[in-house]
C-alpha cells in the first residue's frame, strides 16, 4: 500500500496554507507519538503506538491499537474508514481522507489543530480581575451607609410632629410611674389621645445616639424627640421644663436680676449623652466661674467669694438662735443671726433650754430623777440625736420621747401617796392641777402636813363651818403657790427651762407663770446640705465637741478647718475627700420660686386638673 500523507500547515495570521506530501509504503502504517512510528503525532495525549492505517475493502481504515480510540464527529470509535471527506481526530491532530492521487493507493491530510488554550492561560493573572471595580465597591459603601444610617431613620423622624416652638408643655413628674399614670388619666378624663408610652423609636435611630444616656434619663433613651424637638435646633429649655417644671431658681431674682439666667440653656450645665448617674455637672468650675468674684456679677450680693473649698472658702457662719419669744397665738418665734465660727470670743446661743452636754455624757452613767432615781443610764449622742432617714438633718428633739423617761413630770407632794402626771409646756394647766389638789385635800380633811390648819386636819368627812372652810382654802392656795414655785423654778420645769413669775397675782390671787419654751436650731447652715450617713465611721465628738460643754449656750458646730482635715479642696494634688461645691451646696434652691414661672404655673394648674378629675372618678 502506498499512502500519500499530506501535511497541512497554516501560517499564523495568514490565509496561506502549505501542503507537503510524503509517500509512505507498507501493508500497515503505524500512527502514534513514538519517534519511530510511520505517522508521528508529537502530542502527549497520543499513545506511543496509537493506531494503524490499513487498506480495507472500501479504502483506507484507521483502527485504534491496544484499546486506544479515535474521535469521529465527537464520538470515540475503535476504527473508521477514511473515505474521502471523512475526518477523524487523534489528540491535537486531524486526519482527513482525500481522493487518492495517481501515484498512491490512498491519501490522508494531516493537520495540527490550534493547540487548546493551556491550563490557566485564561485564568486571572491580577487580583483586580477577580474583584468588582473600586468604583462599584465605593458606590455600594456610600449607598449602604447613607441608606442605613441616614435615609431610614430620617424618614421616620421627619414623619413625626413636634409641638410649636415656645409652647409651654408640662408633664408633672412625681415618680416616673405616677407621671405615666397621671398623663394617661388626664388624657382619658379629658378625651384626649393617650400619650405614647411605648418607645418612640425605630431601630436605626439607636445608631444616632452619640453617647450613653445618664441613668436618670435612661427611660428617655428610646425617645429622641422627648428632648430633640425640631431638626437643627439645640435642645430647648422647654423640653427640660416639661418634666422639671418646678425646678427652683438659684437666687432671689428680684434682688439679683442676673440670676434669672434668661439667656442660658439648661444644657450649658447639664450635659447629657456622656453617661454617669445624672446630667448634673459636678465640676466646681461651673460655680466658681461667678463665685470667685461675685460682686462683678451681682452688686447687691452679701455672699463671700470662694474659689476652692481647700484654698479659699469663707469660715462657716452658722445661723444661731439668739432669742426665743412667743407670739400672740402662743407659737415660739426665734430670733436668728448668722455669725462666723472664728470669732475671738465664743459664740453664744439662746435657745431657751438649759442643757449641759457634759452631764448627760458622763462616762459613769447618768442617774435618773424622781421615781427613776435608783437607775442609771449610759447615754451617748445617739440616745437623743438620730439622723433622719435621708441621713441629712437630725430628727427634732422631742421632750416626751427623748427626755421624759428620766425627766418625768410627776407631781408627788411629800408624805402623800399620790402621783399626778403634769402636762408638758402647759404652765397654766399645771397651776390648776396643783391648786385643785390642795383645795381638794383641805375639803376632804385628814391632812397630816405640818403647818396645816385644824380644819384640814379634821377627820375626813366631818363638816366645816364657813370660817373653817375659808381658812382651809387660804392655806391650800398658799401651799399650792409654794409648791408651784418649786416646780417652776427648781424641780420639774426649772430643770430645763427658765420660768418667770408674773409681778402681780391674777384676779384669783394666783401667780401666773411663764415658762420659756425651747427652740433648738436644726439647720445651723441652711445654705449647705450635710449628710451624716457617709460620715458614719467618724465619732460625733470628732466634729461636735460635746463632752466638755457645760451649757446649752455653746455652739457645737465644727469650724471649716475640721472639714478640711479630709476635704482638702480640688486644687491640691493630695488624695482628698470630695470637695466640689455640689458636695454640700445646691444650685437650684427651693424657696426662690421656679426657674420658669410659666412652667411653675402650668404644672400647678395641671395638677389641680388631674386631682379634680381623680375626685370626680372616685365619686362616680
Amino acid at each position: 500500500m502506498r499512502l500519500s500523507l499530506i501535511t497541512i500547515k497554516r501560517r499564523p495570521d495568514s490565509d496561506d496554507v502549505s501542503r507537503r506530501e510524503t509517500l509512505l509504503e507498507g501493508s500497515e502504517l503505524r500512527v502514534g507519538r513514538g519517534a519511530d512510528v510511520d505517522v508521528n503525532l508529537p502530542d502527549v495525549n497520543v499513545a506511543y503506538h496509537h493506531a494503524t492505517i490499513s487498506e480495507g475493502p472500501g479504502g483506507l481504515v484507521i483502527s485504534g491499537v491496544g484499546g486506544e480510540l479515535i474521535e469521529v464527529n465527537g464520538k470515540s470509535v475503535e476504527s473508521v474508514a477514511l473515505t474521502p471527506g471523512t475526518t477523524c481526530r487523534i489528540g491535537m491532530y486531524e486526519l482527513t481522507g482525500e481522493n487518492a492521487p495517481d501515484h498512491a493507493d490512498g491519501a490522508i491530510a494531516l493537520q495540527k489543530l490550534d493547540s487548546p488554550v493551556g491550563p490557566g492561560k485564561d485564568a486571572p493573572q491580577r487580583i483586580v480581575e477577580t474583584l468588582p471595580s473600586r468604583r462599584r465597591l465605593s458606590w455600594i459603601a456610600v449607598l449602604v451607609v447613607l441608606g442605613l444610617f441616614v435615609a431610614w431613620p430620617l424618614t421616620s423622624i421627619l414623619m413625626r410632629g413636634a409641638p410649636d416652638s415656645g409652647a409651654v408643655v408640662v408633664t408633672p413628674m412625681t415618680g416616673s410611674a405616677q407621671a405615666t399614670v397621671e398623663a394617661a388619666q388626664f388624657a382619658i378624663e379629658n378625651g384626649l389621645a393617650p400619650e405614647a408610652t411605648v418607645p418612640n423609636f425605630t431601630p436605626m435611630e439607636a445608631s444616632w445616639i452619640s453617647g450613653p444616656m445618664s441613668r436618670a434619663h435612661a427611660g428617655l433613651a428610646e425617645d429622641c424627640n422627648a428632648c430633640h424637638l425640631r431638626p437643627f435646633e439645640m435642645t430647648t429649655n422647654n423640653s427640660c421644663l416639661a418634666c422639671h417644671a418646678e425646678v427652683a431658681q438659684h437666687a432671689e431674682v428680684a434682688d439679683h436680676p442676673v440670676m434669672a439666667l434668661d439667656n442660658y440653656r439648661c444644657a450649658a450645665c447639664h450635659k447629657e449623652h456622656v453617661g454617669g448617674e445624672s446630667p448634673i455637672e459636678q465640676a466646681s468650675a461651673v460655680c466658681t466661674d461667678c463665685h470667685v468674684d461675685l460682686k462683678t456679677v451681682s452688686e447687691k450680693t452679701d455672699l463671700m467669694n470662694v474659689s476652692d473649698f481647700g484654698a479659699n472658702h469663707p469660715q462657716f457662719r452658722p445661723t444661731l438662735v439668739t432669742g426665743v419669744s412667743t407670739d400672740d397665738s402662743g407659737a415660739l418665734v426665734p430670733t436668728t443671726e448668722r455669725r462666723p465660727l472664728d470669732q475671738p470670743y465664743p459664740l453664744v446661743e439662746k435657745s431657751g433650754l438649759k442643757f449641759p452636754h457634759n452631764v448627760h455624757l458622763n462616762k459613769e452613767g447618768v442617774r435618773g430623777l424622781g421615781r427613776a432615781s435608783d437607775k442609771t443610764w449610759d447615754m451617748n449622742c445617739a440616745s437623743c440625736h438620730v439622723a433622719q432617714a435621708d441621713g441629712m438633718l437630725m430628727r427634732p428633739i422631742e421632750m416626751e420621747r427623748d427626755c421624759a423617761y428620766c425627766h418625768e413630770l410627776t407631781f408627788q407632794p411629800e408624805n402623800i401617796d399620790f402621783v399626778r402626771e403634769l402636762p408638758h409646756a402647759k404652765a397654766s394647766e399645771v397651776s390648776e392641777i396643783v391648786h385643785d389638789y390642795y383645795a381638794a385635800r383641805v375639803l376632804e380633811g385628814g391632812l397630816t402636813v405640818p403647818g396645816a390648819p385644824t380644819s384640814a386636819r379634821r377627820r375626813p368627812g366631818a363638816p366645816m363651818t364657813p370660817a373653817e372652810r375659808a381658812e382651809g382654802l387660804e392655806w391650800a392656795a398658799a401651799q399650792a403657790e409654794l409648791e408651784l414655785r418649786a416646780i417652776m423654778d427648781v424641780r420639774l420645769c426649772g430643770d430645763c427651762h427658765v420660768a418667770e413669775a408674773s409681778a402681780e397675782p391674777d384676779d384669783r390671787g394666783r401667780t401666773a407663770w411663764k415658762v420659756q419654751g425651747a427652740l433648738l436650731q436644726r439647720h445651723w447652715m441652711p445654705k449647705s446640705e450635710f449628710n451624716h450617713e457617709p460620715h458614719f465611721a467618724m465619732d460625733c465628738v470628732s466634729c461636735h465637741e460635746a463632752t466638755t460643754s457645760k451649757t446649752s449656750a455653746d455652739v457645737l458646730m465644727p469650724e471649716i478647718a475640721i472639714c478640711r482635715d479630709c476635704h482638702l479642696g480640688e486644687e491640691t494634688s493630695q488624695a482628698s475627700a470630695s470637695s466640689e461645691c455640689l458636695a454640700c451646696h445646691q444650685f437650684h434652691i427651693e424657696g426662690y420660686g421656679p426657674m420658669s414661672p410659666a412652667h411653675g404655673e402650668a404644672v400647678k394648674a395641671r395638677r389641680t386638673e388631674v386631682e379634680r378629675s381623680t375626685v370626680v372618678r372616685t365619686s362616680q
Binding site: 493551556g118 474583584l131 473600586r134 465597591l137 459603601a141 447613607l146 452619640s210 468650675a285
Partner: protein, 279 residues
C-alpha cells in the same frame, strides 16, 4: 536609599515634621482644655478637631485622586504621596482625640472605625511598596516574568518532544504537567501564591518514579532529561505564582482603601448631619 522609600523622606521629611508638629499641638490643646461635661466631640475643641479632621480627610481623598493623574514629574508625585501618607497618619491622633475616647455602637463610632480602617489599609500599602518590589526582583532572580513564561512554553514543547521517545506512563506525567500547571486563578490562589497542587511538581514525581523502573540506557537518558525539564518547569511556575501573589498584595489594599474611603466620607456626612440635626 532606593527610589521606593524616597517618598517618605521627601524634602528631608518635610511632611513627617509637619504632621508631627500638628499632632503635638493637637495633643497639647486637648490636654489643656477641660470643659464642663468632660472632653468629647461636642465641645469647642471637639468641634475644632472634628472640623480639622474632616478637612484633612477630604483633602487627602482629593490628593489620592489627584496624584494618580499627576504629570508634574516624579518629585511632584513624591511630594503629594509624602503628604498623603504623613497627614493620613496624623489623623489617628486628631480623630481619636476628637472622639474624647467615647465609643459606642453608633454611626459616629462607625465613621471613626472606617477612618482607622482606611489608615490601616493605607499603612499596609506603604509597607507593601517598601517591601515587595525588592522581594519581587529577588524572587525572579533578575529575569522578567515574561521571559519566564516564554521559557515555560519552550519547556512544554520540549516535554512533548521527549515523550516521543518514552513509554506512555511518561506521557501521563507530561499531561499532568501540561494540563495542571495553573498560574493565577481565583482571588485566594492569587493572594496565596501556593504551589502545593502544581501539576509540574506532581508530573516530576511521577516521571521520577517511572524512571527508576527503566532498563534501556537510551530511554534512561531521555527520562533523566524529562525529570529535569519537569523540575525546572515546577520551579518557574512556583516563582511566577509568588510573583503574582506579591502583585496581588500590592493591588488588593487599594481595593479596601478606596471604597472604605468613600464609605468614610458618606459616614462623615451622616455624622455631621446627625450631630447638628439633634444638636
Amino acid at each position: 536609599m532606593s527610589a521606593h522609600v524616597s517618598f517618605l523622606a521627601h524634602r528631608r521629611f518635610k511632611w513627617f515634621k509637619l504632621s508631627a508638629w500638628l499632632c503635638l499641638i493637637v495633643i497639647v490643646i486637648y490636654s489643656a482644655y477641660a470643659p464642663v461635661g468632660g472632653r468629647n466631640g461636642g465641645t469647642w475643641v471637639g468641634y475644632g478637631l472634628g472640623g480639622l479632621g474632616l478637612l484633612l480627610i477630604l483633602w487627602l481623598s482629593w490628593l489620592g485622586v489627584k496624584k494618580r493623574g499627576f504629570s508634574t514629574g516624579e518629585s511632584g508625585v513624591k511630594g503629594w504621596t509624602s503628604a498623603h501618607v504623613y497627614l493620613g497618619l496624623s489623623l489617628v491622633v486628631i480623630g481619636t482625640l476628637h472622639t474624647g475616647f467615647e465609643f459606642g455602637w453608633n454611626v459616629h463610632t462607625l465613621a471613626y472605625t472606617l477612618m482607622m480602617l482606611v489608615i490601616l489599609s493605607g499603612a499596609f500599602g506603604v509597607f507593601a511598596y517598601l517591601r515587595y518590589p525588592r522581594m519581587m526582583s529577588e524572587n525572579l532572580a533578575g529575569q522578567s516574568a515574561s521571559a519566564l513564561r516564554k521559557e515555560l512554553d519552550d519547556l512544554d514543547v520540549r516535554l512533548a518532544r521527549l515523550t516521543q521517545r518514552l513509554p506512555d506512563d511518561f506521557a501521563a506525567a507530561a499531561r499532568e504537567s501540561l494540563h495542571k500547571t495553573k498560574i493565577g486563578g481565583g482571588f485566594f490562589s492569587l493572594l496565596g501564591g501556593s504551589s502545593r497542587r502544581c501539576g509540574s511538581a506532581k508530573g516530576r514525581d511521577m516521571a521520577r518514579s517511572q524512571a527508576d523502573g527503566l532498563t534501556d540506557p537510551a530511554e534512561m537518558t531521555v527520562a533523566t532529561e524529562m525529570v529535569a525539564t519537569l523540575s525546572r518547569k515546577a520551579e518557574i511556575a512556583s516563582r511566577l505564582r509568588r510573583d503574582l501573589s506579591y502583585k496581588a498584595l500590592m493591588d488588593v489594599w487599594l481595593w479596601l482603601h478606596v471604597p472604605i474611603t468613600l464609605g468614610l466620607i458618606a459616614s462623615l456626612a451622616a455624622h455631621v448631619l446627625i450631630v447638628f440635626f439633634y444638636w
